[in-house]
Amino acid sequence: MRVGLRLFASYADALGTRSLDVTLADGATVRDALAYVRALPGASALPPAPLMAVNAEYAPLDQPLSHGDEVALIPPVAGG
């Protein structure tokens, strides 16, 4: 399946990109999407357990993904 990955703020700077479309195996979870990102150049700057979101909602690592989902890594927030 295809999913969209989104990166923001310091994570986008570290990896040099803000979004990419990737192919994951059927049955993939949020953990698999994160593993994909971890293999990219610059990913060593990511923390051990970044917060993740699926379709604009915080999501646990074992949440299954569906074709077309948007998966985001959420850096520590700074609103206010």
Binding site: R6, F8, M52, A59, A72, I74, P76, A78
Partner: protein, 153 residues
């Protein structure tokens, strides 16, 4: 009736207060976040805010619903605007206005909204310093840091 928005122009605080005003309310609590000239002892000259916009709006709407659910009877009216882009010293970055018939629910809900917004809403800021450098800063490493949500999963 409630209002949540990300904006790129200056926040019109009077207009936000007017959104929650009504002859049926007796109390309006509000909170403004503004850009300070110093953070962690570094001279700040400006701040650049960015967001995961769809998610930030969704989280703000969720926070509004939670705040309303904590009030017995008629829920408070709540309006929130957060500014994105380049902000100067003194600019309002976030404005929250909450009205209710009574003051305690208005004050409580206003505080709940700003505390949760600082913990959960995916908005980021990069500070610009007097020496020309820039740095991403988050709500954990600033004075009055908030407790972030535990890592999920």
């Amino acid at each position: 009736m409630n209002h949540v928005a990300l904006v790129t122009e200056a926040i019109d605080v009077a207009a936000l207060l007017a959104r929650v005003s009504s002859p049926t309310v007796g109390a309006i609590a509000s909170f403004l976040g503004t850009v300070r000239n110093v953070n962690d002892n570094r001279a700040v000259t400006g701040i650049e805010y960015s967001a995961y916009e769809e998610m930030a709006e969704r989280e703000m709407r969720a926070i509004v619903a939670e705040a309303a659910a904590q009030v017995d009877g008629v829920p408070p009216r709540i309006a929130i605007e957060h500014r994105l882009g380049e902000l100067s010293l003194g600019d309002v970055s976030v404005a929250i206005a909450v009205s209710h018939a009574r003051r305690a629910p208005a004050l409580d809900a206003c505080r709940y909204v700003i505390e949760e917004l600082k913990k959960r809403v995916p908005i980021w800021k990069r500070e610009h310093y007097a020496d020309g450098s820039r740095a991403w800063v988050d709500n954990r490493n600033t004075v009055g840091a908030v407790e972030l949500p535990g890592v999920i999963g």
